[in-house]
Symmetry: C2
Subunit: 345 residues, 2 copies
């Protein structure tokens, strides 16, 4: 949903590239499948779907499906391609609706669907994408994929709604923040791993571990994304910085800063979050540097990744577990890169 | 979607009551089931779902499910209750999104979800309802219900999008109008009948006939609804008249009027539809009376109902076919009532 990487026009970020290279044939198969799905849409919405179903996204969730269910480089099981298409299409639908809510102008360097076709059509387009995602899920022999995907979609929406309600709310706790990102981001990561592992026929213990790893990776990823909103460089993360502060969205970096501040300083920041005062992004960033906020948040990300790795460790003999572990390691490196950027900027 | 009956607070319209009486136990079972589903939603969205899942709607689609699969008054098969809940919840989701697009203030005499919780939350609430509808559909042993419901939802969205694009478009033909209402309204009527008949275990021939009847009933119903926007009485249909003309929506009554007018009169109406001129609702209504528009449109409704009845006629020995036929007859009566109202007003 809100992770910004999807809004950039670039290929996967440096570091992720290496792992993704071996996924090229899988992602090509996914693109072919998604393209073949276009004909499943009514002629009335064909162009709209094609417009937003471009291939420049990072395909992180499909990558999780393929890695979790990895059986070797020559194996591109149709079931995995299909499941990857389902999670990607659910993700696309949420992006289309997200952009309406954020009044966003651009996504992947093009006008958002809401800008291009109007927000009314974008609401319906998102619905149609969601419906088609389920329709693909319903092509599996059993109802399991439908069950998993529909419950996950409901949870993603619940997380987004909670986040919407909490804009400008300064009473939010770390637990509440965590719950929101667990629902809105980690849930789709979780089921991507679950479906990949399950559909590739792996044993139940690994399937559960992969799912829990996916959840941890999703939480870590969202915290990283929230950190990048303060410490990233616009040219690297491809979006305007400071949108969370400006939108009254209390993410972990702000929570930690609030914990560090006191007296008038704290009151001023609370007023900015409540939108009773113009947000002072650069000032907050300087304060964060002064109070070592980056290190605290980065430690949280590392702890979450470590937890995910530990869950996978009993399955280290399986190649997919190794591949998932590499993805975790890559995210850890990205946090380090962000620190280097953040310190120098 | 756009049929206005759902926006009134009253019980089923006079005439429909008789048939609905025998459905009371079924509709109570449906309400109990829907209420039990509330716990399936995350605590974050529980209140929002409860707010929009009130019981004062007419439950036309559930009625179609129950009548199509009728096996006698004492039979309330769990599968039918479940299917009725699915179609009703999809319908609810589309209403929630509809109200955002229409900037509607009230539904069933209460503020719409968009008014009450903000349009951002309403977008997500609609998504969550759609997801939960699919989740209920995925509880059936096979994927058939998921397949049917997801394809229908996609088609409903396609119809709504086409309608959105055509606002203010005066080049619309009768065929184009018919295609839109087939998608946006008749599709859910169709699958309600299909699922009811199928899940009650009836033979394939009847299942197909029931589905096609549902489609005809849905088309007839939407034309009736569009006619009521000009010829209804606000106290009876529970909404402001003339919204289609004001919104640049070319429905059958307007199409017929356009066919009857020529010269400057026609040009003026075209400009009203294109929103280049203030709509003159009372004047248009008077013109429609003068040109016998009501009779032409009513004849179209009757022809559609007749077509539906003919499809059912080979199954007249089945009680559910008789019950469906009665619903068609009730709609025919409602058109007559509308004429009597329309002539006297």
């Amino acid at each position: 949903m809100t992770e910004r990487d999807a809004r950039t026009a670039e290929p996967p970020p440096p570091g992720l590239g290496g792992s993704f290279v071996r996924l090229q044939p899988h992602l090509r198969a996914l693109d072919d499948f998604l393209r073949s799905q276009l004909d499943g849409f009514e002629p009335e919405i064909h162009d709209l779907v094609e417009y937003c179903m471009d291939t420049s996204g990072k395909r992180i969730r499909p990558a999780l499906v393929f890695f979790s269910g990895w059986r070797g480089p020559d194996q591109i099981p149709a079931a995995l391609v299909q499941a990857a298409a389902v999670v990607e299409m659910v993700h696309l639908a949420t992006l289309v609706h997200d952009d309406i809510m954020d009044r966003a102008e651009l996504r992947r360097s093009r006008p958002t669907a809401a800008r291009r076709y109007g927000s009314d059509s974008a609401v319906l387009l998102g619905d149609a994408l969601l419906a088609q995602a389920v329709h693909i899920a319903a092509q599996f022999p059993s109802t399991e994929v439908c069950q998993v995907v529909s419950a996950a979609t409901r949870r993603v929406c619940a997380g987004e709604i909670a986040q919407t309600f909490r804009r400008g709310d300064t009473a939010i706790t770390r637990d509440a923040y965590r719950r929101v990102i667990d629902l809105k981001t980690a849930e789709l990561f979780r089921i991507s791993c679950l479906l990949g592992a399950r559909l590739a026929g792996y044993e139940d213990g690994y399937v559960e571990a992969a799912a829990e790893f996916g959840r941890s990776l999703g939480i870590a990823y969202q915290i990283y994304d929230d950190l990048a909103d303060f410490f990233g460089e616009e040219k690297n993360i491809g979006k305007t910085l400071g949108t969370d502060l400006a939108g009254g969205k209390v993410t972990l970096p702000l929570l930690v800063l609030l914990e560090k501040l006191s007296g008038a300083e704290r009151s001023e920041l609370l007023e900015e979050i409540r939108k009773c005062r113009t947000p002072q992004f650069e000032h907050r960033r300087a304060q964060m540097r002064g109070h070592g906020v980056f290190a605290v948040v980065a430690e949280d990300i590392r702890a979450e990744l470590k937890k995910g790795m530990a869950i996978l460790s009993p399955w280290a003999r399986l190649e997919p577990a190794l591949l998932l572990g590499q993805l975790g390691e890559l995210l850890r490196q990205q946090v380090d890169n962000l620190r280097d950027q953040g310190e120098s900027s």
